[in-house]
Structure formats: structure tokens, C-alpha cells
Subunit: 357 residues, 2 copies
């Protein structure tokens, strides 16, 4: 069914050949998770053919997972001959328009590009990425389940705050919570005070002192899908925190109100950015407003200032504006939403109010 | 020092520009492990300049890790302008020969290739990969420490065998052993009986029955480096096992005897392959003889039938011939060696004799 939808989308977008690496794109399209080493593995899809370039020594273990054909190659021969055979089978020996999995290794991609006559090259965002963006009911159910687990982990993170605890110790509380729920850890970023002003701070040995802002951005993974949420709070009192929190929360609200099927992703970004700029913090909002979420924690659609993506019903993405004040604190609030016909449904059941400890 | 060595090697190989992605190559060269998302990050090295293309929101958290300059870009602007500025700074606005990190994402690589005039393109094997292949004393010490941990884990794996235990339960014993030693799990492949005939079998729920061959290929990771070793044994008696074991062990010995500084990697492969072919199992040795091991569990040098790599003192690689008999068992024996002036030093202290249970 996904293969059928992909071919339909390829026809609509004038794409002759889609090349998928051994990445989450292959997992989504075909349910295969091949051994991810330096041996080229690729799935090729055209209107007339679909199958895999496969190292001989992985063929047996993958054979049970798909009915599609394998063109195999052995270490001694290398992959070029097998790839050329495959392209002939796929009707792609002549000039073709190609959409390439942007997350595959550079050498896999160049192996393909060096052996095919490319008349137009694109990445997957407009074909397979587009389809991945619209979630089905099963995916929604798993994402919701992960979001509820993450709500509990967030409560546990803020509940454990005490003077002297380290960021790493808070992260351990979060990870233990995930384990207790049968979930894995996708990532964590626990930021005390000024550390929060770095949007990608590495959780470390900083100890919690009185009157410090706390920023927690965490995600679990269960049944193949992740969660992702950010909340903020204070340990004691922090000058200016409540004002900044109110601005960021209003930015989230503005984005939530704007996001509807048919709206451009950049208009959602503009709504959040406008609120923050109007409050005088435009230059302290250092990143895009959001990213899609599915098998990958970052995937299509990206909610950026320049995106031409038209939002569609069933898309799942984050809304996560932030304000970063160097030497003081950073404050970001992040929701994951699924876009319904009448607007976004927020997956988390946890209010965005500041945590107080 | 590594940067200096890289520039020397670039001069020797006629390479004007080296482009490194946010991969283990960057960790090795510069000690940076940037946030690995879809935002392009790259280190560019020429004889006159070295620095990074860096997303603005990662710049602060990475700044303390290197003295080299960053050319930053913001989500709203995208990376192209910053990359062009960087190439001008690096003296690479005109035609250049480029060596590209083959493990970076396809979109990062094509971003570079679309913005530079490439007169010759290669991957890193002959420049940075070559340097990574020759280990220093610190790296040797850590690799040896991991090998000793892995010896213990291998003993634990075979010691826990009993009728009805599953492959996954043996894997858990291995992982617990690693945890007890303060190490992480790099990978495991536990194969009972016919499962061993798939070189990349996924450890599963197969239960151990009497008179079954057992193949264990496991690796830990501690202090940033992995271990990797394969041993084989029997639970009860298995027809033909001892004969096959003797052939594979002789193949390992032949490769060990052949490997010397100055020898071609393909001659080491030929030595192992020759023993197996002479015993009549040439077509059941499904893969190359070995791979380099360092920060990555697979890296330069690769010991294949076609490799022109000249082995050098200080290189670390696996020797792991195998024979795969469908429906019966697979038997592979794997050692990691460091190449000394007079030949290979095997890192493991564990004999290759069959385990008997």
C-alpha cells in the first residue's frame, strides 16, 4: 500500500526513480532494517519495478521480510555490476529524474549518481517524505502512547529537583521512568540556568543552585516511534522568567491557532516568530518553529521561515518557539501536534504552565 | 598534530580539500561530536585553512571544543551562503581535488559538491582514513582493555549455555557482563545451529537444543573504542564441526602468518581464502577476511580480495574467515590484531579452541 502510494506520488511529481538507503525511510516503506555497515544497500522504485541492491551476506537474513527481488553482490565483486543490472531491470538504464534518500551515506548516494543518467535530482521530501508526513491511525495511536509516557517523565523530572542535584542525575530519573514504562530513551537535554541558553546543551554535571531556571527537553521511544516535549520551570525565583514564559506560551498559541490544513508551514513559523519579535526578542529566537515527527524524531514537514510545504490533515509536527538569553536562561515550550481537519490536536496532556519547585 | 599529519598526507596524495561530516571522522580529527541532525555540519581542511560550517544553534555548545573558526548559518538563511563564504576563506573558490567523508549524509555531501568545482573526487580512505588506520599508544591501550573485557564476556556466554536457553538470553548475559565492567554493548550476534549460516543473523528467540553448534560474535565499547571477537563451540556433538573448525582455524593462522608491514591487504585475504578453498569450501566463505577497527567497528583498512592497501605497522584490523553451511551451522573465528614490525599481535588472550558444553 505504501509502495502503491509512493508510485502515485512519483507520477504526480514527475519522479522516475526513487532510491532509498538502509534508513528509517526503508523501514517505513518496506519494513526492512538491514545491517547498517559500509556495504551499499539500496531500495530502488520505478513505476515498473521495485527491489533491492543487497550485499550477498545480508540477503538470507532479509529475505523473509519482503517479497520484492534482491540483486545481490559479493565483497569480492563490489556493488557496481549488480547496481547496473538492477537499473536495467528497473527500466532506468537511460535518462531519469531521481529522488534520493538524503539520509543515506554519501558513498551510497554517489554510487548511484555515478551510474545513472540524472536529468533532475531531488531529495525525498516531496515524494516519500511527503507520504511519511501524513500519519495513519496506527501511527497516531503509538505517538499518543509515547506522549503520555513523556508527560509522566516530565513530571518526574521536575519532582526530583533539589539543591545540588546534577543535570545528569535528573536525566537518570527520566531514563528510569522510561524503562519502568517499557520504553527506551530517545534523547534528553536537561539545562540548569545559563546552560538553557544553548538550544543543544549537552546534559552535564552542573549542580542545581537556588533561584535557577530549569529547561527539560526529553523524548522516549516505544513501538518504533518517539516522543518529544519541552517544559520549563524555576527552582526558587528567577528574574524575568514569568514574562519570558508568557511570551513563549503566546507564541505557541499563535502557531496553534494558525496551523490548519492548507496553510503554509512558513505561515505557522511566522505566527510564532511574530509574537516573539513583537515582544522585542526576535533575535533571541535562534531556530525554526518546528519539525515533523514519526519514525524519526526529525522528519518532514519542517516548520521554517522559508518552507513552501502546504500543511495537510494527518501531519504530525512540533511547535517549539524559544527565547535564549545568554548568561541567564533559555525558555522553550514544545508541543507535538497532529493536524486535524479543524486544527492541531496537542498530543501531550500536560499544561505548559511553569513548574515551580 | 592529527591536523598537521592530515595536511602532510593531503600534500602527498594531491588532495586540495578534505570535507569531514559530523561522524567518527570528525571526532577523530577534532574531538567534536556535533548534534547529528539534518542541519549540515562540516569540517573543511585545506593547506591554508581549517574550520567548520556550523548551524548557529550548535555554535555555542561546540565552541569550547576547538580553536578552529566556525562559519555559522541560521535556519532562516540555510547553509549555502555560509558554505560559499567558508570555501572562499579556505582558498577553495576555484577548481580543487576533494576527498569527501563517505559516511556523511548524502545531502551534506551534495551540498558541498554542488558548490565547489571538483577536478577529482575521492573518499577519505587514502587521506584521513589512512591516518586513522595507524593507531597510537593510547588507542592501543584502550583497544587491548576492551579485548580483555570481551574475552570475559565470551567465556560468560559459553558458560551459560543450557538446554532451552534462547539466543536473546545469552545476549543478555553478555550485556550484563559488559555493564559490570563499566562498558557498553557495541553489538552482539548469538547464533544457534543453522542461524549461524547467516553471517549477519539477528539474535532471536531460538532455543538451544542438544547437539547444536553455537557461534558467538560480540563486541563491547569503553572509552570510545570497541572490541569485536568471534568464537564457536558445540552444545553436545555436531557432525563435521571439528573438521570445519580446523579448516577455519588454519585459515586464521595463514592470514596471521602472511600479515606483515609492506604486505598488500589482498594477500592476507588470499592466504585465508586459499586454505578454505583448498579444503573445498571456497564458495561457502561469503565475505572478506577482515576490517579495520578503531573508533568505528568497521573502518580502514579492509582486508578484501581486491584491496590495494599496503599494510603498515600500527594498523589494527580483524582476521575472520568463516564457512557457512546452510541448514547446518556457520563457523567463523575472529581475531583483532595490531600489526607490529614483525607481524600481528592478537589482542585477545582467549584461545580459538572450540568451546564444549
Amino acid at each position: 500500500m505504501r509502495l502503491q502510494n509512493l508510485r502515485k506520488r512519483m507520477a504526480e511529481t514527475g519522479t522516475d526513480l526513487v532510491a532509498v538507503g538502509p534508513t528509517s525511510n526503508m523501514a517505513w516503506l518496506s519494513g526492512l532494517h538491514p545491517h547498517g555497515d559500509e556495504r551499499p544497500v539500496m531500495q530502488i522504485v520505478t513505476q515498473s519495478w521495485a527491489g533491492f541492491l543487497m550485499p550477498a551476506l545480508n540477503a538470507d537474513s532479509q529475505r523473509g521480510l519482503t517479497d520484492l527481488p534482491f540483486v545481490t553482490w559479493r565483497d569480492d565483486d563490489g556493488p557496481v555490476g549488480a547496481l547496473r543490472d538492477l537499473l536495467a531491470l528497473a527500466g532506468a538504464a537511460g535518462p531519469v529524474t531521481v529522488a534520493l534518500d538524503e539520509t543515506m551515506r554519501a558513498d551510497f548516494a554517489l554510487l548511484l549518481l555515478d551510474n545513472v543518467q540524472v536529468t533532475r535530482r531531488s531529495f525525498l521530501s516531496n515524494t516519500l517524505g511527503h507520504l511519511r508526513g501524513r500519519k495513519d491511525a496506527d501511527e497516531y495511536r503509538i505517538l499518543k502512547e509515547n506522549a503520555v509516557i513523556n508527560d509522566g517523565a516530565m513530571r518526574a523530572a521536575f519532582a526530583c529537583l533539589r539543591e545540588g542535584i546534577t543535570e545528569a542525575e535528573v536525566a537518570e530519573v527520566v531514563q528510569q521512568y522510561y524503562r519502568d514504562q517499557g520504553a527506551g530513551t530517545e534523547f534528553f537535554s536537561i539545562c540548569f540556568g545559563g546552560n538553557g541558553a544553548f538550544p543543544h546543551h549537552h546534559t552535564g554535571q552542573t549542580k542545581l543552585a537556588p533561584n535557577t531556571a530549569v529547561l527539560v527537553d526529553i523524548g522516549s521511544r516505544k513501538d518504533g516511534y518517539p516522543s518529544d516535549m519541552t517544559r520549563a520551570g524555576t527552582f526558587g525565583t528567577v528574574d524575568g522568567f514569568d514574562e519570558i514564559h508568557a511570551v513563549v506560551d503566546a507564541a505557541v498559541q499563535a502557531a496553534l491557532t494558525t496551523a490548519k490544513p492548507g496553510v503554509l508551514a512558513r505561515d505557522v513559523d511566522a505566527a510564532a516568530r511574530g509574537v516573539i519579535a513583537a515582544a522585542g526578542y526576535g533575535d533571541r529566537f535562534l531556530h525554526r518553529t518546528g519539525h515533523g515527527l514519526g519514525i524519526d524524531i526529525h522528519e518532514e514537514p519542517y516548520i521554517t521561515a522559508t518552507s513552501d510545504v502546504v500543511l495537510e490533515e494527518g501531519m504530525v509536527f512540533s511547535i517549539e518557539p524559544g527565547i535564549y538569553l545568554e548568561g541567564r536562561f533559555g525558555l522553550r515550550l514544545e508541543e507535538i501536534v497532529i493536524l486535524r481537519a479543524d486544527g492541531p490536536e496537542v498530543l501531550s496532556d500536560l499544561p505548559r504552565d511553569p513548574f515551580r519547585a
